[in-house]
Structure formats: structure tokens, C-alpha cells
């Protein structure tokens, strides 16, 4: 693992702790000895069917982050047109081909929370395979 990746992730963690987004209950590495696996806890937005709910996300960070997006999945079962019920996979452009290093783990989680209250019926679950391939080659 490169120092620069660790450095960026630690800064993201500090940034979150300093100024956490209101509906992001937690965002932190899962274990002390692996900074590439994080967890996040989302709270459902008020006045939506998701109000009062809590969802756990698992974030796997690729070694070439932030060149490639993090891999984020729902660990809590959720019924949503853009989230795979069984695998927890999320279909969101930001996590695929609209990703840029300007995004952070925190802003990606916020985008996911917004997706909860604003589903994208036009983008079905099986997201474009092109983007997946592109990141796969980048990972090498």
C-alpha cells in the first residue's frame, strides 16, 4: 500500500470527524489494521418511507483510489429499485463512470443517501458493463 493512499484516507477520516454530514451516522475503517475496508451507517431521510431506518454500508477501497471509485455495498437488506436486494450492490453513476477524485467516501455516501429518497428508475440495476470493465483494467 502506498503512503499517499493511506494519507488521503486518513485525511478523509479527519474531515468526516471534524464536519460530519447530518444523516451519515458513522464512517470509519472497520478494523484498525486495514484502512482499505470501511463501514458507514446511513440514516433514512425524514418524511420519506426510510425515516427512522439505519443501513450499514461496506466500503472496499481499491489500491488505486481515488483514481478508481470505492466499491460500496449495502450490508443491510433494502428494497430499492437501484439496489440489488440480495447482493446489496448499488447502481449509481458516481460509483461507476461519473467518478472523479473530487469525490470522497463521505460525499459518495451522501450521494447514496440521496439515491434512497430519489430513485432513478431509468438506471436499472445492471449498470453499464463498460464502466465496470474500465475500472477493472485500471486496477491492474
Amino acid at each position: 500500500m502506498t503512503d499517499t493512499l493511506t494519507r488521503r484516507l486518513i485525511k478523509e477520516l479527519m474531515e468526516f470527524r471534524k464536519d460530519p454530514a447530518p444523516d451519515l451516522k458513522d464512517l470509519t475503517p472497520e478494523k484498525e489494521d486495514d484502512i482499505l475496508v470501511w463501514k458507514a451507517i446511513l440514516e433514512g431521510e425524514r418524511d420519506t418511507p426510510y425515516e427512522g431506518g439505519q443501513w450499514k454500508l461496506r466500503i472496499n477501497i481499491p489500491r488505486n483510489y481515488p483514481m478508481a471509485p470505492p466499491n460500496i455495498k449495502f450490508m443491510t437488506k433494502i428494497c430499492h429499485p437501484n439496489i440489488h436486494f440480495k447482493s446489496g450492490e448499488i447502481c449509481l453513476d458516481v460509483l461507476k463512470n461519473a467518478w472523479s477524485p473530487a469525490w470522497t467516501l463521505q460525499s459518495a455516501c451522501i450521494a447514496i443517501r440521496l439515491l434512497l429518497s430519489n430513485p432513478e428508475p431509468s438506471s436499472p440495476l445492471n449498470c453499464d458493463a463498460d464502466a465496470e470493465t474500465r475500472w477493472a483494467t485500471n486496477l491492474l
Binding site: 494519507r7 485525511k11 478523509e12 483514481m67 472523479s100 477524485p101 473530487a102 485500471n138
Partner: protein, 392 residues
Amino acid sequence: MNSQTFPLLIPEDTEGSSYLGFITIKGQEIPFGIHIDQRNARNLKNAHLRGSPELCRLVAGQEHRLEQCSTLEEFLIDLKDLLEQLVTKEENELMRSGTYYSTLLEELDAIGWDKLQSIDHALKNISLRIKYIGQHALLFACREAITYNHTVFNVLISHSDSSGRQHTIKVILPSSYPSDPPIVHVDLPTSISISLHSKSGLRKIISLFQEEVKQFQDLWLLLEDFDNHTWVLEPDKPKRSDLMRRIALGNHCSLQIDVDVKNPRGICECRLFGSEKTVGPLQDRLNKNLMRWDQSLTIRQNLEAILEMNFPSPLTTSKSEFNVECGICYSYRLNDEIPSQTCNNEKCGQPFHRACLYEWLRAIPTTRQSFNMLFGNCPYCDDNITTMVVEK
């Protein structure tokens, strides 16, 4: 237990699992204690040895040898053997370097030492704080690092020049000194031939150094003028040998100067960094006014006049306003590079390391390449951004 071999050992308890005593090595009694795990009395694998720091230092790394003994007596004989060997070895090393010490001490006398601050009985740590009788105060600290095969002496000489700057000369004396010359490290803008003359000893090294230091007084004054009155972005911690400074101008702009060591007051090399919009007007002023360079002013004063601005100063601004991190890796310094690629969109102005931006742009299908330039979009504002291909 054979009390003939070890008359100085007494049991600490009735079970015979703990003993306390002394072990005699070369006429010196070293205190120690041993605890044996009775459940496992057949060998001493779990035996635990307690002792003075000196004893622990000697047996460090040798425990495996002692673990192989099957009886306490065997263990103690082995321990005695081992300690005697180790002590003899250290003594020999000290003997060999006898001439070395006397030469060093003679030399210290010659330079004008008048006081030896401390020296421990085993000659393992010597620290000398000696006042130099004369114009300069010198502080010497000598430390010896003993390893198994050779002895190295580091002498740090701190010298204060006519402007009160502290300089350090680091002299490494090999164990074969004085037949082999010392290695001299100094922090000066030019590499001087001190090492060549170093056969002549510490005294000569110091006087050569003083000569060198004299000729750089004006150069250092000019560079310190930057260090004290501007925000120096690079180098991180300027050394006396650094002739380059990169200073913050604000608006994600910076100016790099390289001072000519032979003519420090002359026109120096200048390079501007930043987005085209902000650098353009500054470059014009630089071209237009450069002829007004005045050798009686400092470099900073000249450049402020030429660029028609006052450089941001530590008195009025904080450094965090200028050393803005790279938008990709979130660090400022990456392999000694600072974020020098700035987005030209004035509202964005996000800086990036060249390497980071290149790494990002080359992975994007819409990025175009022409010769060694990449044309793509800023990861932050999506405006056009250009960067050079980075060779790996």
C-alpha cells in the same frame, strides 16, 4: 549444585527454583538471578535470567545458546564462558583503538580544548563540551558507537559565524584514524575540498571551514531575507547549501528563484508557476522591469519592485493559505513535488501534482493526447485542463 564452582550462588526459596548470586567474570562480580520452571525441570527452556543492565546487554541475542543447557550447573558454566568471551572481545576492541584515543585527545588539546565534560569508565561514551578560547565558541560532542567489528567516532563541531549563524561540521573518525582520513560532512553551497586536507587533522578542518563560511555571508543574508519575509514553499526546511527558493505569491501562484553562488546580488533566475491568467500579467512585468535590477538592493526587494507587489509575508498571512494540497492525493509534498498544476478556471483554481493529474487524465477515455501533452477535464470543475505526460 556444585558449590565449589559457584560459591556465590544462594537459593532464594526451598524448592530450589530460584537462585540469587554473583558470577565472576575476569575478577569482576556481576550480580544475577535465575528462576527455573520446576514443572519442566528436564531442561532450562523456560529458565528466566535476571540481571544488571550490563549483564543483559552482554547476553542479548545469545539466549538460544543458554536455553540448550539441560542442568543448572551446565547453564552457569556456559554463561560464565559466554560472558568471558564477550568481555574479552570488547576489551580487545578497546585496546586496538588505543592510539586512536590518544591521537584524538592530543588533537583536541591542540585546538584549544580546556575542559573534558564527561567520559565514562569503559570509554564507551565520551562527551566533550569544551570552550574554545578565541573568537568563536565551539561545542564539541563526541559519541562513540561500538559495534562488534569497528569503532566509529562522530565529532559534531558547532561553529558560529560573524553573523551568529550556527554551522555544524560533522566529522566521522574511522577506527583506523589517524592512518585513514576522517570523513567530513558540511552544509555549504559549494562542495569544498575539506576532505582532501583532512589528513592535517581537526584543527585544519575547522580553519578551512571558517574560510569558506566567510565568503558566503552575503549570499546567506540574501536568502534569509526570503526566509524571513516571504512564505517559502520549497525547500521544506532550507539548508545552508540550498540556493533555490520557491515562494508563495497568492492566487495559487508561486515564484521560484535560483541564486547564482558566484554573483548572488546579480539578476537571478526566476520562474513563475500558476494558472495562465494570474501568471501572464506577472510574466509581463518581469520582462518589462527586469532591467531595473539594482545590485544594492536585496533579491527580494528587487523582485517586489519588478513585479509591482509586496510578497505575502509571515507577519500578515498564514502559510496554510498558500500550501494548498493536491486535489487528488490530498498531500502537499509528493516525492518532493508540490502541486504545481493549477486548474485555469478562476472559480476552481484547484492545484494538482503533475503525476497525480497525469495518472487521472490518462485513465479517462475522453482525454486526448498530442505529443507529450494531455488534454482533458479538471476532476473538480470539468473545465479543460492540460498537463504534460509524466515519464515513469
